[in-house]
């Protein structure tokens, strides 16, 4: 079961998200007026509908706060999405997730700089060793396996690998 703090944090983040969507809808309404009729019709309808639903949701959330009620998402049946586990919902889970996202961004930056192969050679051992304290032999095995996979995809399926801005030569 979620704690009150976790539920409150989730509700605040959700309010922020809905507000951001409302602002985007206002931006769409504002900028779409310059388009031709055929390009303007649907964006205007969709953006007004978005704004209406955002207002409805913000109103519902405000009413809930005024009443002091907190509805736990654990109640009732939810078929909406794959859920986040309770222990990952809190601030610590949020920080851990953002930390991993930063690692993923780092991998992307390495790919853009050095290309897919060198980025993989650097990223995989770094992630496994620095973050998870894994055995270096396992890291090496995964790197070799990934390079073999890339080679196979490139050779047999004709896939292209992202090249880097710095042209560092590689084996294949």
């Amino acid at each position: 079961m979620q704690t009150d703090d976790t539920t409150r944090l989730q509700q605040r983040l959700r309010t922020g998200f809905v507000l951001a969507v409302a602002l985007i809808a206002i931006f769409v309404i504002w900028t779409a007026s310059g388009f031709r009729t055929a390009a303007r019709l649907f964006p205007l309808y969709a953006a007004w509908a978005t704004l209406g639903f955002c207002a409805l949701e913000l109103g519902r959330q405000a009413l809930q706060r005024v009443r002091g009620a907190q509805v736990s998402d654990a109640q009732g049946v939810d078929t909406a999405d794959i859920g986040v586990e309770a222990e990952e919902m809190g601030l610590d889970g949020l920080k851990r997730g953002l930390g991993i996202y930063a690692w993923v961004l780092g991998y992307g930056a390495l790919i853009l700089a050095l290309g897919m192969q060198w980025a993989t050679v650097i990223f995989v051992p770094a992630l496994l060793h620095l973050r998870f304290r894994s055995d270096w032999r396992v890291s090496l095995g995964i790197v070799v396996g990934l390079l073999a996979l890339m080679w196979a995809l490139r050779s047999f399926l004709g896939l292209r690998l992202p090249p880097g801005l710095v042209s560092v030569p590689f084996l294949f």
């Binding site: 969507v21 964006p43 509908a49 109640q75 049946v77 939810d78 853009l112 897919m116 998870f132 292209r160």
Partner: protein, 504 residues
């Protein structure tokens, strides 16, 4: 017709053509297992090698790929929570929770057996409908197609669980995101700000990978451990899955029929059919408590439908030369390369070829799913490997899959942006599937809305078929809402009863 059916079968039984069909199945399984590389990608990869080949053999390869991808894409959906292609997104909803409960093999067994039956039923439906399909498809004009897309959007209510308004807002975000780039009905680029990458809008593959794959990788890495938490039932679990499918035979038949019917309508992509069927099975089920937590019916219904769909998408492609899906557009191109003109003349002059295609579809579905079934046990073991060892491989494949879209820096940036959006939505309890449904339907709704409005003004709403589909939308939305309210009331009552018991 019977002569052509037998002649088509005999033509396909030629060893070279059969080996090409099996090659297509193998390629289809490979691209299906790799997230982001769907049937379109597989067909695009082999197309350059088909020039000069025997047309029947070339067609067999392409149909082999088209038939095997909807089965093989179940592997990443169930084992990693990542849709293998756009047509297996809904399978994640229950297949992945099953894998996390240690029932990966059962989920795969159910999915593959449902896929096989669905695929064969799709081929049978195509056979049965060949003589009658033309008048049916001609009944659908732009207003009816608009209403069908709105029917798809109305499923958002069902897909939004106990947060319908949030689900609708997510669908609206999808609609807004789908408007970026060239307007479908006017020569205008919207919100592209001169960035060439945005002229075609966001790619569905990247949006899907970003929304569903990256958040799952991030959360599993952050949590640590393996995908599955328990290890029971792997030994013979796949046979349990087959038994699940057989005990839900009418569910398979019903969703195969839906898959074929909706698939026959051009533009209704595999993802729409997938979600439509998932929404429908949730709406119709008496006991909904396990949906989203590992209900095998949530795997069987979309899997039967997306394989049966291949029979449906072939109908407009072969009968009118109107591609039923993006992959079928490529197939159509291949037919033209071979000098075959699809359309009514194909039915009149070369019915044997139509049956080669139908037989290829049926046989490829059977062999594709049998191969997947045989592979399911060893591949299921992947779920018990610590995820930190799988994550780099999955991340690498996701990035490679995204990169193949346009091979532009923008692919990686878009993937990162949608990854953050998906992760944020998952964390704050905003349902992600409605966003994807809105995104997919955005261009279609706009195109059909404009066509209906410019041809009929607002009189299109009075067309009989439009009213029938509108009534269906209302029934589905109201029915779904009433049933959800009942289920929620039941859950609250159960919680209250348990609370009283604990207090005692």
């Amino acid at each position: 017709m019977w002569d052509s059916m037998i002649a088509g079968f005999m033509m396909l039984m030629d060893p070279f053509r059969m080996s090409m069909l099996m090659l297509g199945v193998a390629i289809g399984i490979l691209v299906g297992i790799l997230p982001g590389l769907g049937g379109l990608m597989g067909m695009a990869l082999v197309l350059p090698f088909l020039f000069g080949m025997d047309p029947y053999a070339g067609i067999a390869i392409l149909i082999g790929i088209a038939a095997a991808v909807p089965s093989a894409d179940t592997f990443p959906s169930v084992l990693m929570g990542i849709p293998g292609s756009s047509g297996s997104q809904a399978t994640v909803m229950d297949g992945y929770p099953m894998a996390r409960k240690g029932e990966a093999a059962r989920a795969l067994g159910a999915a593959f057996s449902a896929s096989m039956i669905g695929g064969v039923l799709g081929a049978l439906a195509l056979t049965a409908l060949v003589p009658f399909a033309r008048p049916i498809v001609l009944m659908f004009g732009a207003p009816e197609l608009l209403m069908l897309t709105i029917l798809g959007l109305s499923m958002v209510g069902v897909l939004s669980g106990n947060r319908p308004v949030l689900g609708i807002i997510a669908a609206c975000v999808g609609l807004l995101l789908g408007m970026v780039g060239g307007a479908p009905a006017a020569p205008e680029y919207r919100w592209a700000y001169g960035v060439v990458y945005l002229f075609d809008g966001f790619s569905l593959v990247i949006v899907a990978l970003g929304l569903f794959a990256l958040p799952e990788i991030i959360d599993l890495l952050a949590k640590g451990g393996s995908i599955a938490r328990r290890q029971p039932g792997l030994g013979t679990g796949w046979m349990d899955g087959v038994r699940d499918t057989l005990s839900n035979k009418w569910l398979v038949v019903r969703h195969s029929v839906i898959g074929v019917t909706v698939g026959a309508i051009p533009g209704m992509g595999s993802s729409i059919i997938d979600w439509l069927n998932y929404g429908y099975v949730v709406t119709r089920a008496k006991n909904k408590s396990q949906f989203g937590k590992g209900d095998v019916r949530g795997v069987i219904a979309p899997e039967a439908a997306n394989n049966a769909r291949e029979g449906g998408v072939l109908m407009p492609t072969l009968l009118f030369g109107v591609p039923g899906s993006s992959a079928m557009a490529l197939f159509l191109g291949a037919l033209l390369i071979f000098g075959i003109q699809p359309g009514p003349s194909l039915l009149r002059d070369d019915l044997d070829l139509v049956f080669v295609i139908i037989w290829s579809l049926a046989i490829a579905n059977i062999f594709g799913t049998l191969i997947c079934l045989m592979l399911s046990r060893p591949i299921s073991r992947l779920t018990f490997v610590p995820f930190r060892y799988i994550a780099p491989v999955v991340l690498c494949i996701v990035i490679l899959g995204a990169w193949q879209e346009t091979r532009h820096l923008g692919d990686l940036l878009t993937l990162a942006a949608f990854g953050l959006l998906g992760w944020t939505m998952k964390r704050i309890g905003m349902p992600r599937p409605p966003l994807l449904v809105g995104f997919i339907l955005s261009a279609l709704v706009e195109r059909y809305l404009w066509m209906s409005y410019s041809i009929y003004d607002w009189e299109w709403v009075t067309r009989p078929l439009v009213m029938v589909i509108a009534a269906l939308c209302v029934v589905l939305v109201l029915g779904g809402t009433v049933m959800k309210a009942r289920v929620a009331r039941g859950a609250v009552e159960r919680a209250a009863t348990e609370g009283t018991r604990h207090a005692d």
